[in-house]
Assembly symmetry: C3
Homo-oligomer: 350 residues x 3
């Protein structure tokens, strides 16, 4: 028996199986600085301790997606080391805010299994959760991933497909976010005068920023998250397998797009939930990523007079100046340039 | 009306107009580590809390140029998103030292305007200031920048050109720098035995280090500063506009050159002022940057027995080993290899 | 006399000569984050303050190799600025653990000299030590390096070659490591169930991770260590000298390999000593680095019931999937793909 990790193959997963993932990780101001350097977010709440305190936070919380990536990264060695493709996310809720100094760990439970008809792989559904050092849940999400079989003769498990909501319900949003003092919101400092009630359904936002992705950037980010998926780091093996290069971690594109949404959604301080997300096409170093959002829905949050929620669909494209017109995001979605189609809830002061 | 930022065009600026810029930013040890990794400065004061305390500081202050870049970066979305070119700096004074944990914000005032004769653009002069969380001024400078007109039919404003000093006066230097204990200066640890009185006017210093700039490095730095100028990040658009690649933020070259001046000016712990600076030619990834300085002047500082000032002209060149001789920096300035011509005051213990 | 550093040439070194190196450096959480982003280590002790406290540490210590690189980097301007090649390390002991906030400085003593028969260069042996702000030794090692002569007419010194042990003795290991509570070791969180007694001599571990090195990554790392060796940064000069590119700092490969050994040696929390190391071939950006280890020896540590030691030989290769078999590391060593051959002691709980 080898002591090295060969990863789990499809046939070794069982419904109800749980994983307590390595490696726990104390989040630091250093991680935050790297996140800022790699994606360039400009939301004032996460950027300034003073601004955060004025609103009622103890200090600037960590970017929600940095938390997502750290919790997600830990699941890779157990869940997706032998993955063919990451297929989707659902019911992803951001819960307790994370601050520098907090220590994160992750757990997962297998909630669905379905072998593919070719008998060579299957889909594994896991519910993963991130916890801080006080065992408070910071993140809770479902993802499904196609995993290779190691032994093709292993019998297929009974198919179990979890029922997943198309979107997180409004009363499940922002449950752990502290009440903020919206009168203390300085919209000059935050960079946008627009509050929750200023957005209307169907409104399209062409975010003005674009970024060309570099190998060193996505590798450094993905290693910072302790995500060990080999396709992101091993050019030699990628070329041998017929790929043009290293595949960039899908979460990297989510973070780039989220940072770009500052332009138009400058006060959308929190990502509250990811309802669903598709990595439509792979991204490689050298691609220039830009993004567009549409407001799908505006929702009042029960019991909260400070934050409202906006359901936003953000599409990231590559090497597409988006100069020519498109009627809506459904039309844009048909283009070959689309990389990411993300449906999420953001929180924005009233 | 879109909620995204189209930036200001020349015709929308008015004399006396003020801007309170987004996004406030708490400077952390993470930012300092990135700055060190990207530029490699070795000045002991900024590198070691112990060394700083021995001299009389509370702890190691942040590199002066990191402060400059953070204050500058905030001004970009309001002042220079539609800039054709950054033309110059003047009267740039470094004031209150910045420490990790401080929160920076920026303000600007329009102090000059002159439409170009072609009617398509004009020059905007702004005085920008950076403040810490106690509202103490950390930086104060003038820059002028050529900005496109959005509406070519807009009338030209009355031309107003501010009078700018060729250099910051000695009594305006180091006004907020604490008194240090020069007897406690350990010149083995600082890496140089040379103090203020050891330098003479006209002395040329060939700094031995050179660095080849990488895309990931300048992008990470520029995003760390939350500088959103598109030319630094968008390869797709740059190529469409006929550029060979992303233009590197001019301040990146200033920081590289400043770090290189450690070799020869190891005790020049502070940049006290930038009298003027020209980005003579654009820099692209792959260029190897090295630098040379000349001592323009040595100045005693009124009322200070600890620090003296040296006025230094530093020239950065690319892909030039500087093996062949040049009489002085005026002669060097004629070369095609010159990227930067910077005139600044540095502080060095007596 | 110039004030810039020309470095020391072979003829200027003398037996017994000591150097107190610049620049002292306070290690921060920012440095740790960069180290994590560049190499991707996943050892729980260094990753989580909570995990570290549970074992009995005050908080997560800094990666031992980050300490090595910082101590080493400081020696470069005095010892190896005019080096032709770094030849070897011996008797390298990791002593007092380092924590964020500690300030490191380095000293060296010349302990051996031997001019080469060609009269153009010679070998300098130095014993270097790193200290924290309490003057506790954090690192102690010998290295030898071939240094050019500046004046070919300078007489050869009497040859002095220090006697160096082939390996650090077991009673010299872990002398400053605090006693840990091995019952508190959570092997799910640490990522490996294997303890000291699970490893047997001759056991080979094929570490599953591989990483393609990028210019920005090794440059940022090497600058973070304030290592100024020119071959790592100056593409222009490298090309003029006939090299295909910038030579990557050898310590970069050691850190990559060490991080990869997590897969198979997940509880080997500390590197206790480097017995010897050879940089068999140069590494360039674009090379994909992977590694294999063999357990050379297992050693009980006198007086310690918590940690045992494993002597491990780790070989890093480039662009080699290691798919074809090799009997042992001696056979592997014959390949052209070998970059690094490292012999070290690691500590792992009993």
């Amino acid at each position: 028996m080898t002591k090295t990790n060969q990863g789990n193959f499809f046939e070794s997963f069982e419904i109800g199986q749980t994983f307590k993932h390595a490696t726990p990780r104390t989040v630091t101001a250093g991680d935050v600085a790297l996140y800022n350097a790699i994606y360039g977010p400009r939301f004032a709440l996460q950027s300034s301790d003073e601004f955060a305190r004025q609103l009622g936070y103890a200090r600037a919380p960590v970017d929600d997606l940095l938390v997502f990536h750290m919790v997600f990264g830990k699941t890779v060695p157990d869940i997706s080391l032998n993955a063919v493709a990451n297929l989707g996310y659902a019911q992803c809720r951001f819960l307790e805010p994370v601050y520098p100094g907090d220590t994160l760990r992750s757990e997962s439970e297998v909630i669905g299994l379905r072998q593919n008809s070719n008998g060579k792989s299957g889909i594994v559904y896991v519910r993963s959760r991130g916890f801080n050092q006080k065992d408070a849940t910071v993140l809770d999400y479902v993802r499904w991933v196609m995993v290779r079989k190691g032994n093709l003769d292993a019998p297929a498990p009974e198919a179990t497909i979890p029922e997943l909501d198309a979107a997180v319900a409004a009363d499940q949003l922002a449950t752990e976010i502290p009440a903020i003092d919206i009168d203390a919101l300085d919209t000059e400092l935050s960079g946008s005068p627009h509050r929750w009630s200023d957005y209307r359904q169907g409104e399209i936002l062409h975010h003005g920023e674009a970024t060309t992705v570099e190998e060193a950037e996505h590798q450094m980010a993905t290693r910072l998250y302790q995500n060990t998926a080999r396709v992101h780091f091993n050019l030699y093996a990628q070329k041998k397998s017929g790929f043009p290069g290293r595949l960039i971690y899908g979460g990297h594109i989510i973070s780039l797009a989220r940072a770009q949404t500052f332009d138009g959604l400058g006060n959308a301080f929190h990502m509250a939930a990811i309802n669903g997300g598709q990595h439509v096409a792979p991204t490689y170093a050298g691609d220039t990523v830009s993004s567009v959002s549409v407001i799908l829905k505006s929702e009042d949050l029960p019991g909260r007079s400070d934050f409202g929620a906006l359901r936003v669909r953000t599409m990231a494209v590559k090497d597409d100046g988006l100069e020519d017109s498109f009627k809506d995001l459904e039309e844009l979605r048909q283009r070959n340039s689309v990389l990411l189609d993300l449906d999420c809830w953001v929180l924005i002061p009233k």
